[in-house]
């Protein structure tokens, strides 16, 4: 016997800080989650274990977070429990490589090709083209199967697709002349039986395993229902062999097994396409450059990966660079843009002794910093940890299909049993003898009829449509939450800086004491143009827009953090903080009150003086996005409560909230506090969060639906369900409309999927319907769903299929 590998040898979880000191918390990645019912099962199974306090499972991210008493429970045992009920456990720190996703897709495609070929042969063998209906139906089914083959092969080139399709069509057609051979009627059931067995136990082995695992967990999901149908088909065929009557549909029963497995594999392939496509779309948005830092060691500058930087290392930061680590400024001064980290819109001047946060963007100065924290202790890592926490605590949603199946599957089983029992009793009452053959036939017919094979494609197809429509509007909807959850949201939380506002300073008010506004702007722009002040560009932009040409500067002197003195053709100009001008002997009493009021409103005020006299003041602030007001109004009109959540100060937040008409304000929130506020809001409502910064990531993950701006930080994009590539606020109500529309489509599709089989079940219960009709129901419902989902827009579907499977580098889109 080989020695079993235990979890002790391979540590397959990561330890997390627990909420209480006497508790431990672990995170594990779970494989084998086949449907949304699984989360509940895992939570129940682990929750029953002694010592376990809290279990949270995320279906989308395949992760579990377990909090337990380390004195009572051990992580190895807990993970063993998961294995026992058939889940795979893997290390959460390992990321699934891109190639693996591709391989999955290729493997699933191959399975589907074989299955479809089998189906084609099966139908060609059992079809009896004797009347109009009997000719048209198999012909329609064959046509749809050929179309599937074409689609699967399409991504390998048009030639391959056409060739492959024609080849299979030829094989199916070549079977027709064989019908006249004398051995044909006897051989057919055996051939079809062989194909059914290969498909169910060989090619569809993975489905069988999933169904078995689901049954053990007490879940009746799609896979279980499929296997019930497939096995009923095989059983029906076996019964046929035993009876050995020529009018019994032995081959047809086997053929149904072949068909249901084929359709199921097709839906698996389609779901995989949808999943891979959205994950690739997100990867294209991310800045895949590894983070490095320029570390000074032994008077040499080395470019090192972030992981190799140690506390107390000296790191050089060039102008415009992202600050890679937390630290303290040792030399140099620069304005640092922290808007993505803290939500503060105006860059902050940093000089010797000030601390800087990793993730902020350096302005125009060179900085030398001493690293104060790396790895676990650093700001970025804390955020990542919070995102992980929020990921597991995110409220899950039961998918529509799973909700229906929870009722439908037991119903089918009960009806099948009832049909069999009724036939037994009925025949006994009438003839005095139980007709077991009829009873078994009726029961099996119900089971065969019961598998609504179109159900598997109903959700992915409506997502293909919805995602396509969203993409046209510059919206990337990537998860089930985006489609099924956003429409249910009643509260929408908006971040301020970079979401409601542009996230960069602009000139808001100009007050000239002497002369024209343009003259004031021109003077300020002249001085600022030579400095590297963080607000300089905003002033120059304003001057340019008003057509004011700044005077020529002869010489200038910048006083870091205070202001600039410039000698121009029109005299000496001073630009800087009011205190700086006052310190240089300029009388500001005429504008004092005005400055105070502007600062009260959250503005940054700079004063401009010329020839020892005050020229005027310029107030700068973050500007609202042009469509922010309309978007908020549209969201409120749709019945959503709007909430502003920001790390910026109360005054600035209130000001913006009043301006755009937001209901509720939470200001001055620390980066770690945002997710907590979302959790509080989630007690009473379903919450969507819109943000872009590093500090928004945990709350984007925590919210029922997280929405990130495309220009946002990587971590925000990764945490979001919906990404607004256009960076337009107007996309928020549009995305909600798409979510509603897609859900409606999904509902229609699921109804269509169950409808035909629903009608078929009572008919099958009579024991008078042949299994051929089950295949007809399948073909009709699949076709109906295709039409319903892609009506008018078949291109969306082709594009979806063609868009996956290409190397990422090809179409790298950056939106900055």
């Amino acid at each position: 016997m080989s020695h079993a590998i235990t979890t002790e040898e391979l540590k397959l979880w990561s330890d997390e800080p627990a909420t209480r000191p006497d508790r431990a918390r672990i995170r594990a990645r779970i494989g084998g989650l086949h449907c949304s019912l699984c989360t509940g099962t895992i939570e129940r199974a682990l929750g029953r274990r002694p010592g376990v306090d809290k279990v949270a499972v995320s279906l989308t991210h395949e992760q579990a977070l377990i909090e337990y008493d380390p004195k009572v429970a051990r992580p190895e045992e807990l993970l063993h429990t998961l294995r026992d009920i058939g889940y795979a456990v893997s290390d959460p720190r390992k990321v699934r490589p891109f190639e693996e996703e591709e391989q999955d897709l290729v493997r699933e495609g191959r399975r589907f090709l074989v299955a479809t070929a089998f189906s084609l042969i099966a139908i060609a063998l059992i079809a009896h083209p004797t009347g109009v209906a009997a000719t048209l139906l198999p012909a329609a089914v064959i046509a749809s199967l050929l179309a599937f083959i074409f689609l699967v092969l399409r991504s390998r080139g048009l030639g391959v697709a056409i060739g492959g399709t024609l080849l299979l069509a030829a094989i199916a057609a070549s079977l027709v002349p064989l019908r006249d051979q004398s051995w044909f009627p006897t051989a057919t059931p055996w051939i079809v039986a062989g194909m059914a067995l290969i498909l169910v136990f060989g090619i569809g082995n993975h489905i069988l395993r999933m169904a078995y695992q689901a049954l053990r967990r007490g879940i009746l999901n799609q896979h279980v229902l499929l296997e019930i149908g497939a096995f009923a088909g095989i059983a029906g065929g076996v019964v046929g062999f035993i009876i050995g009557r020529s009018d019994y549909p032995t081959a047809a029963f086997f053929a149904v097994s072949v068909m249901v497995v084929t359709y199921h594999i097709f839906s698996e392939w389609l779901s995989l396409i949808v999943k891979t496509r959205s994950s690739q779309a997100v990867k294209r948005l991310l800045d895949l450059q590894p983070d490095t830092a320029r570390v000074v060691r032994d008077n040499q500058e080395l470019e090192l990966p972030i992981e190799q930087v140690a506390v107390n290392d000296l790191v050089h930061i060039r102008p415009g660079e992202r600050i890679p680590v937390d630290g303290k400024v040792m030399r140099g001064h620069s304005a640092v843009d922290q808007s993505l980290v803290t939500g503060e819109p105006i860059p902050v001047e940093k000089s010797e002794g000030d601390s800087v946060i990793g993730g902020a963007i350096n302005g125009t100065g060179m900085l030398l910093i001493k690293v104060s924290a790396v790895g676990e202790g650093s700001f970025l890592n804390k955020v990542i940890r919070e995102v992980e926490d929020a990921r597991a605590l995110k409220p899950g949603i039961l998918h529509l299909v799973d909700r229906v199946l929870r009722v439908y599957t037991p119903t089918v089983l009960i009806v099948a049993t009832l049909a069999a029992v009724a036939w037994l009793i009925g025949t006994w009452l009438v003839t005095g003898q139980m007709d077991a053959e009829r009873a078994v036939f009726a029961g099996l017919s119900v089971l065969v009829m019961g598998y609504p094979c179109a159900v598997g494609i109903s959700a992915p197809l409506s997502i293909v449509r919805g995602a396509g429509e969203a993409a046209e509007q510059g919206i990337l909807m990537r998860t089930g939450e985006a489609f099924q959850g956003y429409r249910l949201v009643t509260t929408i939380v908006l971040d301020k800086t970079g979401t409601l506002t542009e996230g960069r300073p602009a000139v808001r008010e100009i007050e000239a004491v002497e002369g024209m506004d343009e003259e004031l702007l021109a003077a300020a722009a002249a001085a600022e143009a030579s400095s590297e002040h963080p607000l300089a560009q905003a002033v120059i932009d304003a001057a340019f827009e008003r057509g004011a040409t700044p005077p020529q500067v002869r010489s200038f002197e910048a006083i870091p953090g205070k202001g600039v003195v410039a000698q121009t053709e029109r005299g000496e100009i001073l630009v800087g903080s009011p205190a700086f001008l006052a310190g240089r002997g300029i009388d500001l009493t005429s504008v004092d009150g005005r400055i105070a009021r502007l600062e009260e409103a959250g503005r940054t005020v700079i004063a401009v003086g010329r020839a020892r006299r005050i020229l005027g003041i310029i107030a700068l602030g973050d500007t609202l996005r042009a469509d922010a007001k309309d978007a908020v109004a549209a969201l409120r009109k749709a019945g959503l409560r709007t909430v502003l959540l920001t790390g910026d100060n109360e005054r600035a937040a209130r000001h913006i909230a009043t301006e755009v008409g937001i209901d509720e304000v939470h200001a001055g929130v620390l980066p770690g506090g945002k997710a907590n506020i979302i959790r509080q809001l989630q007690r009473n409502a379903r919450v969507a969060m819109v943000g872009d910064g590093i500090n928004d990531a945990p709350s984007l993950m925590q919210a029922d639906v997280g929405i990130a701006m495309g220009a946002g930080t990587d971590i925000a994009i990764e945490s979001a369900d919906i990404i607004i590539l256009s960076n337009r606020m107007a996309a928020l109500p549009i995305a909600r409309e798409i979510s509603r529309r897609s859900y409606r489509k999904m509902l229609q599709n699921v109804t269509l999927a169950f409808l035909f089989n629903g009608i078929g079940i009572p008919a099958a219960a009579t024991g008078l319907v042949y299994p051929v009709w089950a295949m007809t129901a399948m073909a009709v419902s699949v076709t109906a769903i295709f039409f319903n989902s892609l009506w008018g827009r078949p291109r969306l579907f082709i594009d979806a299929i063609l868009s996956v499977g290409r190397p990422v580098g090809d179409a790298k889109v950056r939106t900055t």
Binding site: A525, A526, A529, I540, D541, A543, F544, G547, T549, P550, P551, Q552, V553
Partner: protein, 73 residues
């Protein structure tokens, strides 16, 4: 400092305008540049000590557009 106002011919769409804008903004001495496709016009704020208008014009012409110098303020 100086603001130039030019007409630019040969632009096919707003993309051309963005391209010229981005190219101009990279030149040292150019503080701001704005190119509008709809009015076929360009406005450039520059420091004449660092950037020469003629050099900027030839830069745009090299990219396949024609510059018509209208007025200079």
């Amino acid at each position: 400092m100086k603001t130039l106002s030019w007409m630019i011919e040969g632009m096919h769409c707003a993309g051309c305008a963005r391209t010229i804008e981005a190219r101009l903004a990279r030149e040292p001495g150019v503080q701001r540049a704005e190119v509008a496709f709809s009015t076929r016009s360009a406005r450039i704020l520059l420091d004449p000590n660092i950037a020469a208008p003629e050099a900027l014009a030839s830069l745009i012409e090299r990219a396949g557009y024609r510059v018509i110098v209208e007025q200079q303020t």
